[in-house]
Every structure is written in structure tokens, then in C-alpha cells.
Symmetry: C2
Subunit: 453 residues, 2 copies
């Protein structure tokens, strides 16, 4: 384990399922590598959700631009027992493999719905197939996290939400992904220093209980911190007794930024702490709460008018605790066979697929997005709809500038606000209308008839 | 984003919460950096679990050996607005910061229970504090995944379980972590090629539906694959019609390794497919199933005697779907103040901590582990118990060889088998007895009296 147990630019092409490589070998040996189109979509919304907010495209484009196998990786392939009988020419082929195709996708920070293609790859079959695992991983995970963040931010109703979840994320890189995705979803920032360093996300931090415990007394700890960060002191109140600690705030200084309550009955304590601070003339000192929060608890505190200015959220945010996976799939929709583009579908029980390269049009009515229509890519939309999939790469090269994270975050806010308020119900009862165009329906019937089982 | 959005050896020290750094600055400026001990433990078992299986220590040791901030990272710190007023000498201090302390831990592949210290760091306060986020992230995530895998493997009752989850993991590195942890938990291998490359975990792969769809007919696809992988062909049956596909198996060859069913009623289909294969003289062809499996569904299939040889599991395994976080915490337990070692605790509501550096002893009775006793580190155990925490690092250097992944996996199998069968009930009703020693109870009372709030 010379370079540790990390995914990096140097090895990310290997982050794939073995079957992508065995299929590549079988395609190659059978001389099959004509142009194919795959689309990535999810079939059902995760529990409690009425929408999914997309994120992760920037990392996907970085991966596609960098895709290659190194010489020592090819050497290793040759030693894997599944592959040790294969033709040397196949390994030469893998060695030269790059992404040379087209990427179309719905931009990051867009609300999306079941069956809508979030991403479409058109490239020689072996290339387009081998990308499957990584594309799914990145788009599934970041979109899931962005969606969870959006739910919490909506629940907070104007109070800020900050990602404190690095310690509970499902690997160090998952913490990075969560910080980025939750910023897109509307969080004000993150505690994650690496995310701040790599992606310029605003970083926030206070103190831990251990800081208070490291001093002879709580007041000494408070004062020691305030001396070093006079303008940014957030006193953590609940190491010993929350209300007693709140009464010490005025002894520390009247320029405190905030106090934080991390345990106990947050509604009751926030009210009592607010009163103590106000009585002591500390009306400008804000109250932050944290500790196993989720969107439902936040909504309860907000509806009870708890005097809370910001919510620090960890575990539930970064793991999307109530829905820890987005079941995106990546399906072949079109193949060129004998020079002809042919739509492909599968008919597995409960897991159908839909043929042809597609586009999605979004329509507006009375300030809100009213419905989407999924069409074939070349179909003209029947009305004045907004096309959702954009072309990001052609012939393996990026053809547009990517938006900044701030722009992505603004786009997300726009799309979230364009949903009728019922879509922000935390139980996910609303159903956004997504319909297939006539052209797509005809293509589906044609593809069904053409299956040669 | 020059090197992409990855955690690597070069930047992993930054994967920490900002408050670790603000506390470091406050400790430094106040001249506080005497020896401190922190312990990592979880307070409650995750839902449905009667134990947690540890994993991740190898990555933690790698991190501790490599811990440092690079010059351009220090440069960046200086530019962060929270830090821009701090003394240059503090940045010089950070620049020279390495882990110089002691690491004691329970080995990977051990069953553990609430309040048991899984890991103990003794080092100058600033060092030991700053590690918190990363240590928690790694041990929380991998242990959670290893535990989920162990549950599935037990449910499979001898049939093999393989990790197919890379596409649903919560980031690319989470897929790596899941492959490693699930191998420790007893899985037979993984589909994840990078995990096979980096950690020599056995890799498995079959084909996707798209492979079948890329050919003019299903039979042509089956034969094309078999030509290239004659000894390792696994036919995926459910692209169009599972039973029709099963009837084609004999036309492909009698040396098939297996067939895979990925949708539909797996009990009914596995029985019907088994009969078709047997009638066609293909008794040696195994049946693998996959598709949104979890330990409960596996147990149902096993108890119905479904003729299934292996289970490919994805989403539920890699995300630990029903319990996607382990709530490990990292708490100050001892400080040296004025040359004296002083135990520390906090008394937050519902989140107490326990004083002093500890050891855990495990006891055996009639082939099973009967109970554990948590003692102070220097206490002699009252009976013939097995000490659980081992010393891995002293003065910042590793002092023992690390076990191979195979050895860790064997250790896990030993500890899982040493649990009374009731602990493998999937609903997690059993409670393992963990008691505090007299010495630890006395220390707790002493620490409570000594708190100067």
C-alpha cells in the first residue's frame, strides 16, 4: 500500500466494477466497439423526497478528461487470473484507452425527477461501458447529499445550516463530497478544512468540549479562547451545565459572536439561554445548536419559534441518514449496429429501460415549474420548454466553461424556489408531472418489437 | 482544483474540522500543550445490532505516520480570515507539527461494544486534538461497513457474499473502504477493481444487461462472452425473460461457472432456474442472485432453502443502509496539568464521558465470550481476561508489524464465532455484558468531584 488507500487522479480509472473490464475484453475479442449511448437516471425517488437536486458533474468531467490506465496498472491486469489468458493486443488497447466521446448532462444544482436522464454518454461501446461505475458513484452520492442539504436548509426557514459532519461521513472523501454537495444545497458553509482549501467553501468552526475540559475551569477556557479569537468567539455551553455556562458569557466579553448548545432539550435550552443573554445585555450574541439534528427536528424547532440563529448538522446530513443511497442506473439506450442507430431496451421485471437518446424540457406556469416532458433528443418540443441537458464534452474535450460553485449554488436556489411549496413538504408526498413525448412512446413500442431474445 | 477533488497523502491532514485548528491556535497562544489522552468509543449500538466489528486501523496508522501540513497549506492557513491575525510563530509551529505520541487500539476485526475505547491517543494536547476528525471518520465508517457485511455473511449461512456496491457508495473512496471492510466482515471478495489492485482483495465480475443488449440476440451475447472467458462464464439471465434465458444455458456450453438473476422473485426464479439447469444436465452450474439485497432478504431466501450459491450485494452493504453511521466520539480522558495526570470528564445531558486511560479485558465461558470489563489502564485485571487494547505506536513510530488483510479477516471470523448465537439475531436484541471495574468507578467519582465548572 505504497500510496495509501486513496482514490486519486492516478488510479481513479480503476475505480470500476470488474465486469466492466471483462465485458471490455469480450467486446474487444468479438470485434464489437461501435458507437453506443448510455443514459444515467433513477427509477424512483428516495423515501420522503419529492425531488432530487443534482451534484457531482464537475468531478465527473474531471474524471472523463483524465481517464487512462497507467503502465503498472496494465501490468497488474495481466497478472489478474481472470485476464491472464487474454491477447496482449487487448492490453495494448486498454493502455491507449481514453474517453473520446460526447457528454451531455443536466447542470449541477438542478431539481430532477424519476426517469429523467441526468447524464448521457455517446462514445465507442467499450469506453462508454467502462465509465459506468464511477459516473454512477459520483452522481448518486453527491446528488443524494445535495438533496438532503436542501431539505435541511428549507426546514431552517432562513436560519443558517452548516455542515459539521466530516467525522461521520462514509470515508474521508465522502466528507469532501458532503461539504461540496451541501454547499450546493444551500448550506452556509462547512467545518471541513480540506473542502475549504480545495473548493473555497466558507469554513466555520467553534470549539469542542475537550477545549473546556483542558482548562482548570470553564471560565478560564472561555477567556483563553476569546483572547485569541476576540471577534469570532463561539462559546460551547454544554460541557457541564448549559445555563450556568450561559451566565458566564457576560464575564467573557460583550463582543462574543455566538454560543453553541450541543445536547439536551434544544428548544427549552435555547429559550432559557436567549433570556440569560438578553438579560445580560448580550442581544447580539447568536445562538447555534447542534447534536444529531435532521430536517424534521429543525422544522419542529423552527415551528416552535426557538430563538436559534444557526444549525450545525453532521451525521444526518453527510450520510443522508434517512435515504443513504440514490439508486441511479446507467443504461444502454442506443447502439450503432451495421451502420444503423438502433434503440435498445431491457424488459427485466420491475426494472424496465427506455430507448433512444433523450432530452428533457421543463415548463413553467405561474412562477412555478409545472411539468417536464422527456423527448427523443432530435424531437422538437411541442411548446416553449427549457431544454435541460446541455453538451459539456465533444470528442473527449470539454467544450464549455464550467460554472463556479457559487453559480451552481445559485442555480440550485432558483430551481428549489421554482418548485411549488408542496414539494418542500418533508414527507415527500408531492408528485411532479413528468411525461413521455409521443415520439418517445413510439420509439419504445418499436424497441419492444425489435427485441430478439 | 489542480489535483482534483480527492483526499490524498498530500492533503489528508487538512481533512479536519476547522475548530481543531482554532483550538490549536488558542492552546498555542495560551501556552497549553501538555500531554493529553483521548479515547474513541461509541455510546450506543446502531439499530438492529448487538455488536460492532472494528475496521480501519491500518488507514489510521498510515495517517498518523504521514501527518503534516505542507508549505502551501500553511500559506493558505495564513490567508483564511479566521487566522489572518495570528502570530507567525503559530504557523511555524503548525509547519513542524507531526504525530509524536502513542497509539493504543483494539485490533481490526474485533467485536466491540458500547463505551469500550476502540482507540487511545496519548500525545501533546494540540496534536492529539487535531487528529480527532480523521480518526473518527475512518474508524466510524469502516467499522460500520464491516459490521453490515458480517450481518449479511451470517445471514447467508455458508453461501458466499460478494460486494457489488461501488456504484452506490458515498464517494469513490467510500467504495474502496466498503470493499476492504466487507472483506474483513467475511465477504468472499468485491467487484471493485481498485480495491483488488490496492489491497489484493479477490475481485469478481460477471456481465451487465447492456452486454446482452449490445448483441443482436441474447444467445449471441452469451456465446460471445463464453468464447472469451470459457472457464468463468456467468450468464446474466434477466435482461428479457429469466426462464427463457436459463434454457439457453445448455446451448452455450456445459462448462459455465454460474448464472445470475438480478430481478424478480428470487426465490421462485432460483428454484425454476435450478430445475431447468438440472434437467439440462448442468448440475454444476451455480446460481448467483443480486438486486437490492440485504441481510433480512438473504435470511428469508436461506430459510426457504432457495438453491442459491452466492449473493451479490451492493447498495445496502456499502452504505450500511439501515444504520448508515456509527456515532463514535473522541473524548479527552486525561490531562497533565502542573505535572500531574488528571482525569477529565464532561457531564453533558445524555452524553457523559468517562475518565482516565483505560484497558478492556474480555472473558470466555463455554466456548463463548461471556463479558468484558473496562478498567483503568494500570489496573490489574481481577481474573484471567484477554487484554484488548494493544500498543501500535510509541513516540510517533509504529512499534509492531500490522496484520495482513487475511489475518484481520480471520480474527473477525474468530470473534464473530465467539459470540453466543443470539448476538447474530438480525434484530439486535442481545446485550453483551460490559462492566466498569471498581478502579474505574472510583476514578469516575473522583473526576466528578474535581470539576470546577
Amino acid at each position: 500500500m505504497d500510496n495509501g488507500f486513496f482514490v486519486t487522479r492516478e488510479n481513479e480509472a480503476l475505480l470500476t466494477d470488474l465486469y466492466e473490464l471483462t465485458m471490455a475484453a469480450a467486446y474487444w475479442a468479438n470485434g464489437i466497439n461501435s458507437t453506443a449511448s448510455f443514459e444515467l437516471y433513477f427509477r424512483r425517488l428516495p423515501p420522503n423526497r419529492s425531488y432530487v437536486l443534482t451534484a457531482g458533474l464537475e468531478q465527473i468531467i474531471d474524471y472523463l478528461l483524465n481517464f487512462h490506465f497507467s503502465e503498472n496498472q496494465i501490468e497488474w491486469f495481466r497478472s489478474v487470473e481472470q485476464f491472464d489468458h487474454l491477447d496482449q493486443k487487448f492490453f495494448d488497447f486498454l493502455s491507449g484507452l481514453r474517453f473520446t466521446g460526447e457528454l451531455r448532462a443536466i447542470p449541477e444544482g438542478t431539481t430532477v425527477f424519476p426517469l429523467e436522464p441526468l447524464l448521457q454518454i455517446t462514445a465507442p461501446l467499450i469506453e462508454s461501458q467502462i465509465l459506468e461505475t464511477y459516473l454512477l458513484n459520483v452522481l448518486n452520492s453527491q446528488s443524494m447529499m445535495a438533496t438532503k442539504a436542501a431539505r435541511m436548509v428549507k426546514a431552517a426557514a432562513g436560519s443558517s445550516v452548516i455542515d459539521f459532519g466530516a467525522r461521520r461521513a462514509q470515508s474521508p472523501q465522502a466528507a469532501l463530497y458532503a461539504a461540496r454537495a451541501s454547499y450546493i444545497g444551500g448550506c452556509q458553509g462547512t467545518s471541513n478544512v480540506l473542502a475549504a482549501f480545495l473548493a473555497d467553501i466558507p469554513a466555520y468552526g467553534t470549539t469542542a468540549h475537550s477545549f473546556t475540559m483542558a482548562f482548570e475551569s470553564e471560565l478560564k477556557a472561555f477567556r483563553a479562547y476569546h483572547r485569541v479569537f476576540p471577534k469570532r468567539t463561539v462559546l460551547l455551553l454544554d460541557t457541564y451545565d448549559t445555563l450556568e455556562a450561559a451566565r458566564k458569557a457576560k464575564l467573557v466579553g460583550n463582543d462574543l459572536a455566538a454560543v453553541r448548545i450541543d445536547s439536551g432539550d434544544l428548544l427549552d435550552l435555547s429559550r432559557k439561554v436567549r433570556k440569560i443573554l438578553d438579560d445580560d445585555g448580550l442581544q447580539n450574541v447568536q445562538i447555534m445548536v447542534s447534536g444529531d439534528l435532521n430536517e424534521f427536528k429543525i422544522a419542529d424547532l423552527v415551528s416552535a419559534n426557538a430563538p436559534i440563529d444557526s444549525f450545525g448538522v453532521g451525521t444526518e446530513l453527510v450520510t443522508s441518514y434517512d435515504a443513504p443511497a440514490l439508486n441511479g442506473v446507467y443504461k444502454l439506450v442506443e447502439m450503432t449496429i451495421g451502420g444503423k442507430r438502433i434503440s435498445r431496451i431491457k424488459t427485466s421485471q420491475g426494472k424496465p429501460s427506455y430507448p433512444g437518446r433523450k432530452q428533457v424540457y421543463r415548463y413553467q406556469k405561474n412562477h412555478y415549474h409545472s411539468h417536464d416532458v422527456i423527448t427523443l433528443a432530435e424531437e422538437a418540443p411541442s411548446e416553449d420548454g427549457m431544454p435541460m441537458l446541455q453538451t459539456y464534452m465533444e470528442a473527449g474535450k470539454r467544450v464549455v466553461d464550467l460554472p463556479s460553485l457559487t453559480e451552481i449554488r445559485k442555480r440550485a436556489a432558483f430551481h428549489l424556489d421554482a418548485l411549488d411549496p408542496s414539494f418542500h413538504d418533508l414527507n415527500g408526498a408531492a408528485e411532479y408531472p413528468v411525461v413521455f413525448s409521443q415520439g418517445l412512446k413510439q420509439e419504445l413500442r418499436k424497441a419492444e418489437r425489435s427485441i430478439q431474445k
